[in-house]
């Protein structure tokens, strides 16, 4: 298999999947969603002990993880050159020698994720690579700027060349139980995205309960989200396995009832290769193999790649690696 095969590596859901048109808000479904925290935590805690991938399987899984990374920089001191460096890494995430040893070519990350002002240099730097640029939007990370400006920001980012828009929801709509407001907001964002595909960041660390996470996930999918995403990376608690379990079970439910596959993106706090394997196993177990592709699954991560590179070198050479041997982003 060549990694440039479209069916396997297409980054955007709409290439291979019918796009989620959304549906009317179904409050019965939303209110009926349950999430038993203790049971969910038990499942999450035992999963790493139930699933294990070794040797060449582990190497393949780690390469898969790389292909699903949204390589991200969301810092106040980002510059055009800093973003160009990141894009270069996105095109060549792993040292050529290692990839040759593993017999795999054409590996890239899933996308590059930046703030609006960095879209232009990123689009420029990624030209011809097929790697989409994702932009965080709608007053990221808090989402508390004027609504019309948040909507306008999406339009600006799409115009600037972003193919994916990572919006933040208004957490207050969830906390106030105003599902209609959340639905309307999300629907408006989705419409503003046009052809660009939209990831809904729930900021799960600020939603208080897993039940809220389940309900917010459903509402955003009903309103047309292409992806649901855990976190901005700026909350005190970002992606966790229990939260992921709740969100992907909501995705599974949505697929069962509507036939549409929604993507999932855990973001923030995933920095170890072993964690990445656990996430992939979780997706495989709960959603199935179809979701193990970058059009339906992404890691929002910045330091994960470095650890995976070290593990891959260890697999190839048998010796533990050192960080400086791998190119920084």
């Amino acid at each position: 298999m060549d990694m440039t095969d479209t069916a396997q590596t297409a980054h955007l859901p709409q290439v291979t999947e019918p796009r989620n048109p959304g549906m009317a808000l179904d409050l019965d479904w939303v209110h009926g969603a349950q999430a038993n925290r203790s049971a969910i935590e038990r499942r999450a805690a035992t999963l790493p002990g139930r699933r294990s991938v070794k040797k060449e399987y582990q190497a393949a899984w780690l390469l898969k993880a790389i292909s699903c990374i949204d390589l991200t920089t969301l810092a106040g001191d980002d510059t055009a050159n800093r973003v160009r460096r990141l894009c270069a890494k996105a095109r060549q995430p792993v040292h050529v020698d290692l990839l040759e040893a593993l017999g795999v070519g054409g590996l890239t990350v899933g996308a590059v994720c930046v703030y609006h002002d960095m879209i232009a240099p990123a689009v420029d730097a990624l030209e011809g690579s097929g790697i989409p640029v994702a932009a965080v939007s709608t007053g990221f990370p808090a989402g508390l700027s004027p609504f019309h400006l948040r909507v306008a920001e999406i339009g600006e980012s799409v115009k600037a060349g972003a193919k994916e828009i990572d919006i933040v929801i208004s957490r207050r709509h969830v906390l106030e139980g105003d599902w209609q407001a959340l639905y309307d907001e999300m629907k408006t964002f989705r419409e503003a995205c046009g052809a660009a595909h939209v990831k809904a960041i729930l900021a799960t660390g600020e939603l208080g309960t897993l039940r809220n996470v389940a309900r917010a996930s459903l509402v955003c999918m009903m309103a047309g989200a292409d992806f649901i995403k855990t976190s901005t990376g700026k909350e005190a608690v970002n992606a966790t396995l229990p939260v992921s379990l709740v969100m992907i079970r909501a995705i599974r439910d949505y697929h069962e009832r509507t036939g549409y596959r929604i993507g999932y993106k855990p973001a923030g706090g995933i920095s170890k290769a072993k964690d990445a394997l656990t996430y992939l196993a979780l997706i495989k177990e709960e959603l199935g193999d179809r979701w193990l592709r970058p059009d339906l699954f992404r890691f929002g991560a910045s330091s994960l790649l470095g650890d995976i590179e070290r593990q891959l070198e260890h697999h190839v050479t048998g010796a533990y690696s050192a960080g400086y041997r791998h190119a920084i982003a």
Partner: protein, 780 residues
């Protein structure tokens, strides 16, 4: 496969745990084992092969214990017992702690050996069996440390014979050995013949811990060796975990021997899913309930009861989940379902499922490995309670399912079984969960979870799932006995026929007391009661089988008593005391007239005191919240045993009656009492006290007649939950033997006297209650 190909398939691939260390250990032991007796391994003798059920390979050759070897093990345990007990709790605690540490140090060796021997996935032996075994020794090291301070009136039972099953070999050993040793007993343990190896490795651990020789003895072999242990005259207590069928035989075999007995037997545990449950989590719970250890778990949630509104969706989700289970090499770290323990068990499972024609059978879409004992995860939906597979334990990865309409019907279906080991309830509604948990006939209830175990929470069943608890404070009574010395009880004969005139010329007809009414005996016979001086004190009916039946029926109709508050029961007991007090002189006179002694007044006063004490306890014999390692609580609730049949003391006509009645009804039980055989008139006089004290009909039922005739129908009655005997007739053996039918709890005197004047009621309260552990994890 190449990395490139795997990128496409995203398979898990093999992730084998190495068997090298465990196999080396076997080779180092010569691949042949004798028994562990008196601190040393005996020379291997003739025996049998131990095989890996996943491959059929022979792992080692084991020795079938001879009678002499069992005798040697028991003798070694006997020699060691006194000194071990005298060592004191803190001294024993150090050894238990050392064993726990050594189990931890050799954790992986134990886990791999267990998986090789039993076929269970390495994840389970590594993450569940072995850590829980360690935990049991740590916990009971603490119990040994605390014994003198917290259990000042208890002492070791002596030499314990322990027979354990093959499904959790080391864990069941830990459950048996740790509390026994902590309380100062010594043990002779027989592991199951399929799975002996970790017990032998444990012997090695005992040596490494420096455990005094003879404290732990392990003899190997099949059921014949178990029979030798059960029948051995120098063993004081038998603890058995295994099938209900064998448990029944052990009950019968030990009847009348004076051996203490605890049985942890089979189950067909209900797994109840309400429509408001987190269905995905409830599905995942089933993986832990019925596909844990290939379903070879006595408390497996094997009977799924689903609320009708979500039944179809739930079954769909479940089938989808089943297809994701990974079945195969138990040593693979990525396997959910391993091998069934033995070809014999595999055939049993296959035959039971093949013999079923009801419902719809779904086998998980998983490939079965070539060779080895594998059976696919299976779901059979659409069954009715009358289908065989809804009633009988399959002991394999087979889940059966039916639906219910209301919570009441869920409870009814759940309790429609001879077993009563565990139950699981899934609902997000706390009101519902905590309402039905006490209604379920089970020793353990898990709310929104399943198969949670910990040394701090007792485990054990009701009904034909056996009796006794393992773990927690409640588990210690299985390995201790009261310190008080008892005296032999001589038969108390009735007064010889006097032929004199009636003491009271106005005839008062004593009848039976059944369902709050006085009833004539079915047989229509009465017998006279004479005073010492030969006066006719009155006649009492001779109750028979049908009167027992009627009394039990009346008690069954009074089931609401169990649900009354402790406060109400206390009020009624105080009222009984009040009304008895009002007639104290009359009762004292009657007692003296019957017994020809002068103790009547003292006995009446003690009876009044007993009623007061029972009333005091009625709302104070509290349960506990156990400190289990979850975010949540394990509520150890004390529940009434149910219907208790009792043969009351002959020598204390009133106090013997009240002494049983008061604690039993204080705890919410209903009683069928056989009055003092020679001196029954105090009991028949007591009817009026009952009538005037607001005791609901059927809560107390009293029969008169020969104990020897009433013992058998009471002990054999399948609707009676416990039988106690304080009779001076030697009926203990007969009662224990007859009780095997429904494995009712028995408390018999074995010809030893009870000091009825002694005021401590706690032994009665303990016998009148079952501890139910309700696990409630929480967290929003």
């Amino acid at each position: 496969m190449t990395v490139k190909e795997i990128l496409d398939t995203m398979d898990y691939g093999p992730a084998p745990e190495s068997a090298a260390e465990a196999l080396t250990w076997l080779v180092d032991q010569g691949d042949r084992f004798g028994h562990f007796i008196d601190g040393a391994f005996t020379a291997p003798g003739p025996g049998f092969d131990s095989r890996n059920p996943a491959t059929g390979e022979v792992l080692a050759t084991l020795t079938q214990a001879s009678g002499e070897e069992v005798n040697a093990a028991v003798a070694a345990a006997r020699r060691a017992q006194h000194k071990w007990e005298r060592l004191g709790g803190p001294g024993r605690a150090r050894y238990l702690y050392a064993i726990a540490r050594l189990l931890q140090k050799h954790a992986r060796l134990f886990a791999v050996l267990e998986t090789l021997d039993n076929g269970k996935p390495i994840r389970e032996s590594r993450d569940i069996d072995i850590p829980l075994a360690q935990r049991h020794f740590y916990y009971h090291a603490g119990m040994a440390q605390l014994m003198e301070a917290e259990l000042p009136d208890r002492q070791a039972i002596g030499v314990c014979g322990q027979i354990i099953p093959w499904n959790f070999p080391l864990l069941m050993l830990a459950w048996k050995v740790a509390p026994a040793l902590a309380m100062g007993n010594t043990v002779v343990l027989k592991p199951a013949e399929y799975t002996t190896l970790t017990a032998l490795l444990f012997s090695d651990i005992c040596r490494q811990a420096g455990l005094p020789k003879g404290v732990v003895n392990i003899v190997t072999g099949d059921g014949a060796v178990g029979e030798m242990i059960v029948g051995h005259p120098d063993i004081d207590k038998i603890a058995f975990t295994g099938s209900t069928e064998v448990g029944r035989k052990i009950r019968a075999a030990t009847a009348g021997s004076g051996k203490a007995l605890t049985l942890e037997l089979g189950g067909k545990s209900p797994y109840i899913v309400f429509d408001d449950a987190d269905l995905d989590s409830a599905v995942e719970g089933l993986v832990d309930a019925i596909w844990f250890n290939q379903g070879q778990v006595c408390c497996a949630g094997s009977r799924l009861l689903v609320h009708e509104p979500v039944a179809e969706r739930f079954h769909d989700k479940l089938r989808e989940r089943m297809d994701k289970l990974r079945l195969g090499d138990p040593l693979d770290k990525c396997i959910d379902v391993g091998a069934v323990v033995d070809p014999v068990q595999l055939k049993t499972i296959s035959d039971m499922v093949a013999g079923n024609t009801a419902g719809q059978t779904y086998h998980a879409d998983v490939a079965l490995p070539e060779g080895g004992c594998f059976y696919p995860p299976t779901l059979i939906t659409g069954l009715a309670p009358s289908d065989r597979l809804m009633q009988e334990e399959i002991f394999g990865p087979v889940l059966v399912s039916t639906t219910f309409r209301t919570p009441g019907e869920a409870v009814q279906l759940a309790n429609n079984t001879r077993y009563g080991l565990a139950a699981t309830v899934w609902t997000e509604n706390l009101n519902l969960a905590l309402d039905i948990a006490p209604m379920l006939a089970a020793g353990v209830v898990w709310v929104n979870a399943t198969n949670l175990f910990d040394a701090a929470a007792g485990f054990g069943g009701v009904r034909e799932s056996g009796f006794g608890r393992e773990g927690g404070w409640e588990g210690l009574s299985a390995y201790t006995r009261p310190k008080a010395r008892t005296k032999a009880l001589s038969p108390v004969p009735p007064m010889p026929e006097g032929g004199g005139a009636p003491a009271d010329p106005l005839d008062r007809t004593a009848k039976l007391y059944i369902g709050g009414k006085q009833a004539r005996p079915d047989g229509g016979y009465s017998r006279p009661v004479w005073s010492k001086s030969g006066a006719l004190l009155g006649h009492v009916p001779i109750a028979g089988r049908k009167d027992v039946r009627n009394a039990v029926e009346a008690a069954q109709a009074a089931a609401g008593w169990a649900g009354t508050s402790g406060h109400l029961r206390a009020q009624i007991l105080y009222y009984l005391a009040e009304n008895l007090s009002a007639r104290a002189g009359e009762f004292a006179h009657r007692i003296d007239a019957m017994t020809g002694r002068r103790g009547g007044e003292k006995e009446v006063q003690a009876s009044i005191q007993r009623l007061f004490t029972a009333a005091a306890w009625a709302d104070k014999y509290d349960g506990q919240v156990h400190g289990v390692p979850i975010r949540g609580v394990a509520l150890a609730m004390k529940e009434p045993v149910g219907i208790i049949g009792a043969l009351c003391a002959d020598e204390a006509p009133l106090l013997g009656l009240v002494g049983v009645l008061a604690p039993a009804i204080a705890m919410g039980n209903r009683v069928v009492l056989a009055a003092s055989d020679p001196f029954p008139l105090a009991a028949t006089d007591f009817y009026q006290v009952l009538d005037t004290s607001d005791v609901p009909a059927g809560v107390v039922n009293i029969l008169t007649g020969p104990h020897a005739d009433l013992a058998a129908p009471l002990a054999a009655h399948l609707g009676v939950d416990a039988v106690w005997s304080f009779s001076s007739s030697d009926l203990s053996g007969a009662i224990e033997r007859a009780s095997a039918g429904n494995l009712k709890r028995t408390w018999v005197n074995h010809g030893q006297a009870t000091d009825w004047q002694a005021a401590d009621l706690r032994r009665f309260l303990e016998a009148a209650t079952e501890v139910k552990n309700i696990w409630v994890p929480y967290g929003e």
